[in-house]
Amino acid sequence: MARAAVSGRLTWRLATVTGSRWETPSVRTLVLDVPDWPGHLPGQHIDLRLTAPDGYRAQRSYSIASAWAGTGPIELTVQRLDDGEVSPYLTDTVEVGDQLELRGPVGGWFVWRETEPAPVLLVAGGSGVVPLMAMIRARGAVRGRQPFRLIYSVRTPADVCYAEELRRRVRDDAGLDVHLLYTRKAPEDSPATPKRIDVATLNTHGWPPDFGASCFVCGPTGFVEAAADILVALGHEPRRIRTERFGGTS
């Protein structure tokens, strides 16, 4: 991964949508060509702003889903919030060739650095998987040796983002484990029963606390608080647990 700046002066840039794909029926990935993009670290986000013809502006933060390889486009994965002001535009209206105004990358706390040797536990609720996927991709890009585990909570099997890619990465990479947790409906061929994140899940599929793992938890507030509280109760050091809350639903 190329060196990426965490700080620096911010400028709004006009990005061009060069591609898109649906991850689930309500989650869409946008591929963006951003002129003079300085590179980013996995976990960082961008601020995106939309300006209406009358000058009204709405600004939101979106996590970057892609890892930076020194060149190329960046990807955002956006979940449609039905009462949202910006996300339905990004999921349902924006087309290839459209331009979007954004600035970044920003954020230096909820970030994984490839130089950190510690094992990593990623805990995702719904579209909270996006910045964590950037970490998985960044680790893959540099062939990181740090063992990664992802615990990913979704409502139903149809709500899994990056499902194919995660399957492929787990198959090809002994250092990556993924455990899916279903809150409403489990796959029909699975013995799992739907449940919310709990002690047994984090104890069984996470790392033992004495491994000193770095934990990244991202999702809606209720999910983040439940998962972070359990990790602390299991003996993980609070300073090794980083959280990011977003306003989506899961």
Binding site: V6, S7, L10, Q59, R103, W109, T221, G247
Partner: protein, 87 residues
């Protein structure tokens, strides 16, 4: 209103500070709790950013963006501590 956290303030704060401020450690003037600004509780979208202490819920920091200026109210923070050894 969506529940967010201090991570979402990174862009606005980077307009003011020379380094990422969400990694900086605040000490709450109300209860003495200390942690990264990224952990502040925030609700949005709103015209101003109000970051509350995750421990006592007192307002630690406010950022209000006007067309030609930024107002930063830090009276709820005793201090901000920035790491400068390779952030």
């Amino acid at each position: 209103m969506n529940e967010l956290d201090g991570n979402a303030m990174a862009g606005d704060l980077l307009e003011v500070f020379a380094a990422d401020a969400t990694s900086a450690r605040f000490t709450c003037a109300g209860c003495g709790h200390a942690d990264a600004l990224a952990t502040l509780r925030m609700w949005g979208p709103a015209p101003g950013r109000v970051g509350r202490c995750p421990h006592c819920e007192d307002v630690v920091l406010r950022v209000v963006r006007a067309p030609d200026r930024i107002f930063l109210d830090l009276r709820g923070a005793v201090r901000l501590e920035f790491s400068v050894s390779g952030s």
